[in-house]
């Protein structure tokens, strides 16, 4: 069971689940700690960062990778790590991405020592249902958590902050404290307009993106003070540096990744690691050496062209990704791959909620591909993009080679794929022998 092919990590779990009913539960009982990470955006990178931190803390780590975050992926990870006798190494900590709709089931099979909630935003409504439904499921899931579990909560999202009042155990709050973060553009999509409990409108003294920011209500509810916080954030093309505050003091660090969402991912991992007793120095050095989970934010060198791959799967996530590409004077070539498979979201309407308008001036040329390339091309026409050089319906490979051939040497191609398109791009780059930029730089 040890050889899991690349890109196919969910299947062995299905097989294993059928072979050993209850195998996951028995193995989960041997874990010394379990971290579950759930929320709309940031699960994969936060989980990868946390896994790295825990390894740096000399633990054996089980981690379901590749966005294979459903129940089956969890079972597969546990069985993969077990010896033939069905035992796990001592001091093994599990880090599981929990699909926001599957949190209850995953928590029942692998009771969390720490549960991280990153944010709650509109995402693939055809698949996950309404935000209210997710919030209700989370409340139910909390009822099944062990009493000594710790919640790590992104309190900049009022929908996440409200979980604290539904939990009688301990929690670690995280958030951004920097007063100089540039505000979200007017009219950007957000999902928490008012408090579901009191019906009070959320007001913001600062809003960073979507509904994340420094919020309060007229009735006196307000964003609590975070115990793990980021301040003095400095965003540059080589990465983002900031001050990370812990209950036990502060450290300065730089991440080899860009954007505010990278800061949030690091905060999520740092808060969870703090809850698991990892010292700040270990946390910071592990974070600094972290490379982005493949495809979420990936820099590659292909035929002398810099290629960056940014996964886009919902409006808030993609708006954030785009903002890392909008430095003054920055210009690049774009390849947008829009698929409408179940894993991408069958409904492609969300592209209308993405702020492509502010991306248009940074775009030298654009190629669109994937199942819904024509939908994407129409959206870009509305946003004032240069006319797409080609629409290569369905054929990702052809779209990719056309895009690459249109980029002059030493210029940058940015690829924005949906999930299934990302897997395809990854496979093709693998075959082409693309090297990671950080490996050669």
């Amino acid at each position: 069971m040890r050889s899991l092919g690349s890109g196919g990590t969910a299947l062995p779990g299905l097989v294993v689940e059928r072979l050993h009913d209850g195998a996951a539960g028995a193995l989960a009982g041997q874990l010394s700690a379990t971290a579950l990470i759930t929320g709309t955006n940031g699960k994969t990178t936060s989980a990868a960062m946390l896994a790295r931190i825990l390894r740096a803390d000399d633990r054996a780590v089980i981690h379901n990778r590749s966005g294979s975050n459903l129940m089956r992926g969890v079972t597969a990870s546990l069985v993969e790590a077990a010896s033939l006798l069905g035992t796990l190494p001592r001091r093994t900590t599990a880090v599981f991405e929990a699909d926001e709709a599957a949190l209850s089931a995953i928590a029942a099979a692998a009771p969390p020592s720490v549960a991280v909630f990153t944010n709650l935003m509109r995402d693939q409504l055809d698949r996950y249902g309404e935000i209210e439904t997710i919030a209700r499921r989370w409340t139910e899931a909390l009822g099944g958590f062990p009493g000594d579990a710790t919640l790590a909560l992104n309190i900049d999202d009022p929908l996440i902050a409200s979980l604290e009042s539904q939990w009688s155990g301990s929690s670690v709050r995280y958030g951004i404290e920097d007063p100089d973060v540039p505000p979200a553009p007017e009219g950007e999509i957000m999902d928490a307009v008012w408090d579901p409990e009191t019906q009070d409108e959320f007001r913001y003294t600062r809003r960073y993106f979507a509904q994340l920011g420094r919020w309060h209500t007229d009735a006196g509810a307000r964003r609590p003070v975070p115990q793990v916080a980021a301040d003095q954030i400095d965003n540059a093309e080589q990465g983002v540096s900031f001050t990370l505050r812990f209950p036990a003091g502060e450290r300065t660090l730089s991440l080899p990744a860009e954007g505010l969402y990278s800061v949030y991912n690091a905060l999520a991992a740092a808060a969870a690691a703090t809850a698991l007793g990892v010292p700040p120095d270990t946390i910071c050095s592990a974070l600094e050496s972290h490379q982005a989970a493949f495809g979420r934010q990936e820099d590659l060198l292909v035929n002398q062209r810099r290629v960056r791959v940014l996964l886009g799967k919902n409006p808030s996530g993609l708006n954030q990704a785009l903002r890392t590409l909008q430095a003054p004077g920055e210009r690049h070539h774009l390849l947008i791959l829009l698929n409408d498979g179940v894993a991408d979201g069958v409904d492609v309407s969300w592209i209308w909620d993405v702020d492509w308008e502010s991306q248009a001036p940074h775009c030298r040329s654009v190629v669109v591909g994937g199942d819904r390339a024509a939908d994407m091309a129409l959206r870009l026409e509305y946003a004032g993009f240069p006319a797409p050089r080609a629409e290569v319906t369905r054929d990702t490979g052809e779209a990719l080679s056309r895009a690459l051939s249109g980029v002059p040497e030493h210029e940058q191609l940015v690829i924005l794929p949906t999930y299934t398109a990302m897997l395809e791009v990854r496979q093709r780059f693998g075959r082409m022998g693309a090297s990671r930029l950080w490996d050669v730089a």
Partner: protein, 258 residues
Amino acid sequence: MSANWRLNVAVLYPELLNLYGDRGNARALERRCQARGIDAEITPVVIGDHWSPDDTDIILVGGGQDREQRRVQSDLHRRGAALRDYIEDDGVVLAVCGGFQLFGQHYRGWDGEIMEGIAIFDAVAAHPGPSIQRCVGNVVAIWEGETVVGFENHGGRTYLNEGQQAFASVVSGFGNNGGDGLEGARRRNAFGTYLHGAVLPKNPRLADRLIALALQRRYGSDAPALSPLDDRAALRAHAEALRAAFSPAESAIGRRFA
């Protein structure tokens, strides 16, 4: 002669009823007007705003989750009489998804709670409960002999009372309730539909119909004719949506309306 044509477009509750792409509809109207030298003034109307439909030519209202629909309900009721007058006076409306439900007689949510609508359409909607499948997927419907395409995602099922005209008939997808083959509702110049995904950019004929109806109402026989536009991108997206609706994957999961 360069007449200064203009149309006032009001978008009701854009901060709440904006589920998945509905904002694209205002963009489509704006763009297609501008291309013909017609000024389209887009006005967002939020809860509590002083606004009456008097000087309005087109009203857009989008979709929302149940909680957002509940939230706008009382404000919408305050405007109910004015909106009914506007529609009797041939004012143009496009009400999508949750907005469509709110423009009906009432909507019974998944928890059994009744939300009264403003009774523009003689239709009732009910959510059969959280355990019942939602109506989700690509839709193809026939409206006046032409295809309209979009995406539907609704728990509520709408039933038209006798005498209430539908907007279109379903070829693929669920439509109002997955049973009677009807999609949306139409009363005078008011259109209700479950099709979101920014229905107007991909259905340029429908967008132009709303514009033409509004111009006729404001300018009568002086209304300008709508010149044809370069709609190649829109029609390609339309064709792509048709293909998606009839793809083997869609019919394999049994979503096709027989």
